[in-house]
């Protein structure tokens, strides 16, 4: 048991270190700008007085490491500073949007993960059949589609007839069932984008094992193909499958940006895109840090889970 805990602690430490370096990059990227940040945001016509006032407001007159530490400790306590565009505290802007984005990502994950695992197992079972080839070609095609193309096709096919709303407008008063209904199209878009990859990798991971002697043995004993795959192949294919699922859930985090814009969904992605256009960099930094943290956390979880799925790694002598 202790082996597992030290392993988890090690990974957690590594993840924290990664996050720390990422926060350095996200903060330090603004320092990369040649010349003065205040001047470049205010434009050429700004008077020296406005630039000086703006610099004070941003705290640019302090040395970089002081600003970084202030920012980092603020962020750890949930205080990301104030937005440049509308002077509101960033934590207020983020609070409800973070919940909305997580809801959408979890909704898409709840549909896509079971769906792609089932399709992957079926494709491995009926490999090289018409079903397998059709699913494969479909998967290859859907990987190649830009998210907004999938989104607009869904709007065209499903929202046109009034079946589902083309805009996912939600607020704090929207009930759970209503939320599910209104965000169905964005969730379906994300599902279509990530399912293909997960399905292909599930199929590949299982088929890779089917040539092993122990699978041959199981087959010779007369076990049904479905049982061979589910009971004998799947447990050993878990590690690569978990990795690819985590990779795609991480992809959902970035995929959500485009989809939120298409469906006018009040989430973090939309906030980020708006802020990039306004060059409201404190907001962009805050959102980037949250996205990066989620990304690192998912990869960490996948790492731990795939190790746990392998008894040879857990009970190492």
């Amino acid at each position: 048991m202790s082996v597992i805990w030290t392993m988890i602690a090690k990974r957690l430490g590594l993840g924290l270190l990664t996050l720390f370096i990422i926060s350095l990059i996200i903060f330090g990227a603004t320092e990369l700008l040649p010349g003065d940040l205040a001047k470049s945001i205010l434009g050429q016509s700004a008077t020296p007085e406005t630039v000086a006032a703006f610099r004070r407001e941003l705290g640019l007159d302090l040395p970089a490491h002081t600003r970084y530490l202030n920012w980092l400790f603020g962020a750890l306590q949930g205080d990301f500073g104030t937005s440049l565009a509308n002077k509101r505290p960033i934590s207020d802007l983020i609070a409800t949007r973070l919940g909305n984005t997580l809801f959408l990502a979890l909704y898409a994950a709840a549909i896509s993960v079971p769906l792609s695992l089932t399709l992957g197992v079926l494709a491995a079972l009926y490999r090289n059949s018409i079903f397998d080839r059709a699913v494969n070609a479909l998967a290859l095609t859907s990987i190649s589609f830009p998210e907004f193309f999938v989104a607009y096709i869904l709007i065209f096919v499903l929202a046109q007839s009034g079946l589902f709303p083309s805009m996912a407008q939600v607020d704090a008063r929207t009930g759970f069932a209503e939320m599910l209904y209104r965000t169905f199209l964005p969730a379906l878009t994300l599902t279509l984008v990530v399912t293909a990859h997960m399905m292909r990798m599930t199929r590949a991971a299982i088929i890779n094992l089917l040539a092993s002697p122990y699978i041959e043995m199981a087959r010779l004993k007369g076990i049904k193909p479905m049982r061979v795959i589910l009971r004998h192949a799947l447990p050993n294919a878990l590690a690569p499958i978990i990795t690819v699922v985590a990779l795609n859930l991480a992809y959902l985090i970035t995929g959500v940006v485009v989809v939120e814009v298409v469906f006018v969904y009040p989430g973090l992605g939309q906030l980020m895109v708006d802020s990039v256009a306004k060059r409201d960099f404190p907001v962009v930094q805050a959102v980037a840090l949250i996205f990066a943290a989620a990304y690192v956390l998912l990869n960490l979880t996948a790492d731990v889970l795939s190790t746990l799925s392998n008894p040879r790694l857990v009970h190492r002598k």
């Binding site: 990422i22 190649s144 709007i155 007839s161 895109v273 802020s275 990039v276 060059r279 990869n299």
Partner: protein, 307 residues
Amino acid sequence: MSILINLFWVAVAVAVAMGAGWLFRAAAIALTKGATARMLRTAPVTAGFGMLVILIYVVVAIFAPLIAPFQEREVVGAQFMVWDSVHKLGTDNLGRDMLTRLIYAARNTVGIAFATTALAFVAGSVLGLLAATVGGWLDQVLSRIVDILMAIPALVFALLLLTIFGTSVLKMVLVIATIDATRVFRLARSVAQDIVVMDYIEAAKLRGEGLWRLITREILPNAMAPLVAEFGLRFCFVFLMISALSFLGLGVQPPTADWGSMVRENASLITFGDITPLLPAGAIALLTVAVNFVVDWMLHRASGLKE
């Protein structure tokens, strides 16, 4: 019912596409000879279709001014005109001819994506091969930098950098090239690492071959197959990323014709049941599908040769 009719047309389109792919492959085999023809014979119909589509895109991009009926930025009519005999695909939100914009965008969007991929590829593979060949601290430093840069989601990182540097085409190209170079570096390094431990590399070193000759003449030829496939895949990612940024209004700026921003500009039409805004999005999708089909075939060939 309408869904069934749509499905029918999708099936017809797939059948026609596969037919065209088969014909193109047959024509290509007939026109070439020797090793090229033998290689083409191994191509599945999907790869034939992919090559045909890529060829059409390249021709359209090169001869855009000859094919397009109007000027790229010329306002030729009212806003959002319907499809008729003069404006085959109607007009856009400013009254510019849609077909003309689509044709010019092939030049702009594909050109920018290709240049970005090439830049990312040269930088990533040169550094990757160098890291694997030289090893030691150079390898350590480069690999750790790449590890850290890859820990941030690509689109989020691109958005962050664009906020700081401001949005323009050149900056976008540099930002995306940097981000994608890290992915190319990973692959080039891992491919080259398997090669540098081979005996013939040892022999080449003992012969006194220099670093440059070692990389270009000894390692590169053996690393070529996976790198070429990676170039295709990378192009797809870069192309989709640029389109996504343009769609978000942060990439290619108007009035330059570009598929991503064309979707954004005309998106309001979709709620009125007009498919025009789907055309530029479809153009993006079709090219990525085509490239993926060809890459799939090449990957299959590369793995087949090893067996």
